[in-house]
């Protein structure tokens, strides 16, 4: 066990502040590596020390592994916390930490390899008995109908040699299959010189549900699930815990599968196993595992009372988990809104600039993770998230109402934000009913013009 005394934070924005918060509570000093553009940020002010890694562009600062290692060593740090995004799942950084004698506050390099690419991750899932989207390769037309029996309809035909959705065909019933298959195989042959196609179940109504994993490599715990189905172009917008209207057996199945997966790969740290829940079939499929703290971790913290960053640090220090599965008892409901500096009336164009006012009301049950203060700069170089509002309530309805109050009362001036989008979602009957799927937001957006 190696207690961390001085932690290098290789990140920025709200997550840097979030990590500093827990480090301060644990009596750990912090050094924040910042780009020039972030040298005046709240994180830089709150850290024990801030060092400039390089100029504003991420590739010249936040993404430079050597610079990060050098900065951590040169400032006397004994550990590196990578936050999320940037280098957080970079195997090379984790390995460089080992070489340099630094603790990487994250999983082992081997863990990162195991979850690093989709195909490897899927193979591990199958080996662990975790369901994946049913499908398979077809080389001859006669095999296809047999496979289609298993996969079900609708299904997708993809060229094995293809990618990026090119030449994908949706088939809704068995009658249409032979003709579509012939066509797809001919096209694949013509385009890639390889006629093999892949048949995969097409999920019409899917929900994005993920399970929080906490593991010291021996004890593997889950802290319940989060529903992140409200997405725009695969970007999560609103998250909540627990997942509303999820049948108990499905919920338990997800959590068990996530633990099974983590145990199978010998995962050691915080992580999240993401699933696609097939609403019509009451089934779920493994999507991927994120081997880092996630943006939406606070909704889990809100219902469990855990400090996930503290748990992550303790695991990195080599402490065995004292927490037990029974001691994790979720209570109430929590919802998170990602406030982004973007203009929803101009196709969500990012709106960098200087914030003139940033005040969030001290509402009971509300937590705001932000790096915004009056005068703070939102640089154009990074993502546009400026604050995460997390509302907790005894019930889902109470949590939503609290969030609406928070949105009404908060003052964030000087930049345009997506606050009206959140208000529209939270007042929308379909969302309030609970359990929307990943198509939901795309369907809501066209109606926004009338309301906002």
């Amino acid at each position: 066990m190696a207690p961390i005394k001085r932690l290098f934070i290789a990140n920025r924005g709200e997550i840097a502040v979030r990590i500093i918060r827990t480090a301060r509570a644990l009596g750990i000093e912090t050094v924040l590596g910042v780009s020039r553009a972030d040298s005046g940020s709240l994180g830089a002010q709150l850290a024990t020390r801030a060092v400039v890694l390089g100029p504003a562009p991420s590739k010249d600062s936040y993404l430079r592994i050597g610079t990060v290692i050098e900065a951590a060593r040169g400032t006397g740090c004994d550990a590196i916390h990578p936050g999320y995004g940037f280098l957080s799942e970079n195997r090379e950084l984790a390995s460089a930490c080992e070489t340099a004698g630094l603790i990487f506050v994250g999983p082992t390099p081997d863990n990162l390899t195991a979850v690093g690419d989709k195909l490897t991750a899927r193979t591990h899932a199958q080996a662990a008995g975790v369901p994946v989207v049913p499908g398979g390769t077809v080389t001859q037309a006669e095999d296809a109908l047999a496979l289609a029996q298993t996969v079900g309809f609708p299904l997708l035909i993809k060229a094995v040699a293809g990618g990026g959705g090119k030449g994908m065909k949706r088939v809704d019933d068995a009658a249409a299959l032979p003709a579509q298959l012939d066509l797809a195989m001919a096209e694949a042959e013509a385009a890639f010189g390889d006629a093999r196609v892949y048949l995969e179940r097409f999920v019409t109504v899917g929900r994005h549900v993920e399970v929080q994993i906490i593991s010291d490599g021996v004890t593997v715990l889950h802290a319940g699930e989060r529903d992140c189905s409200v997405q725009r172009r695969y970007q999560k917008v609103v998250e909540e815990a627990p997942a509303p209207k999820l049948p108990a057996t499905l919920r338990q199945g997800l959590c068990d599968a996530a633990v099974r997966y983590a145990r199978h790969i010998g995962f050691r740290s915080l992580g999240t196993v993401e699933f696609l829940v097939d609403v019509e079939r009451h089934e779920f499929y493994f999507l991927e595992m994120n081997a880092r703290i996630q943006v939406e971790h606070p909704v889990t913290e809100a219902i469990t009372g855990l400090d996930l960053v503290a748990a992550q640090i303790a695991i990195a220090e080599g402490r065995p988990l004292t927490l037990t599965q029974d001691a994790i008892r979720p209570r109430g409901h929590a919802i998170e809104c990602r406030l982004n500096a973007e203009d929803i009336t101009r196709d969500f164009a990012p709106c960098p600039g200087r914030v003139t006012q940033a005040w969030f009301p001290p509402l009971p049950g509300l937590r705001v993770d932000t790096h915004m203060v009056p005068g703070a700069m939102i640089p154009p170089f990074y993502d546009s998230m400026v604050a995460k509002l997390i509302a907790w309530g005894e019930t889902r309805e109470q949590a939503i109402d609290r969030m609406l109050t928070a949105l009404d009362v908060c003052a964030l001036e000087g930049v345009v934000t997506n606050l009206p989008l959140h208000r529209a979602i939270l007042t929308d009957p379909a969302f309030r009913a609970g359990g929307v799927d990943t198509n939901y937001l795309a369907g809501l957006l066209p109606k926004l013009g009338d309301r906002t």
Binding site: R36, A37, S39, G40, S41, A44, Q45, A50, V51, V52, L53, G54, P55, S61, I65, G66, T67, I69, E70, A71, G74, T75, A96, R354, G375, M377
Partner: protein
């Protein structure tokens, strides 16, 4: 927490531009702003205004700026360990009084065993080697000061 925004600085510049003054020196806590009308100063001409990184943090700027003591400050182009000499015990690359060209190597910055030679970037006479030997320099931190030729 006094902080000037980019707009503020531009406003000040506009005012100075429209005035008869040749020189403005403003010191507010961490911030030192010195403006000299082109042609009036004995030293090098100042760039219009450095990039508007927030000025409150204890961070020096990267682009060469006029120092109060005169001379140009050569900033670290990257973060790493600064070495005065090519190897321990060897003579330093430069010392005060040395005459350098823009290409003269004035030090090495080591990042992960990779040695990066740092050229002076400007011709002149070395006034001071500011950054200590063998210690971490941040991006933009002053390495040495040079009196431009």
């Amino acid at each position: 927490m006094a902080e000037l925004t980019r707009t503020d600085i531009e406003d000040i510049l506009k005012l100075i531009d429209g005035s008869d003054f040749d020189h403005l020196k403003l010191e507010m806590g961490e911030l030192k702003l010195e403006l000299r009308r082109r042609g009036s100063a004995p030293a090098m001409t100042a760039p219009p205004v450095p990039a508007p990184a927030p000025v409150s943090a204890p961070v020096t700027v990267a682009a060469p700026v006029t120092a109060s003591g005169g001379g140009a400050e050569i900033p670290a182009p990257l973060l790493g360990t600064f070495w005065h000499a090519p190897r321990p015990g060897a003579e330093p690359f430069v010392k005060p009084g040395d005459v350098v060209t823009a290409e003269t190597v004035v030090g090495i910055i080591e990042v992960m065993k990779l040695m990066n030679s740092i050229p002076a970037g400007i011709a002149g006479t070395v006034l001071e080697v500011v950054a200590p030997n063998g210690e971490l320099v941040e991006h933009g931190q002053t390495l040495i000061r040079i009196q431009p030729a």
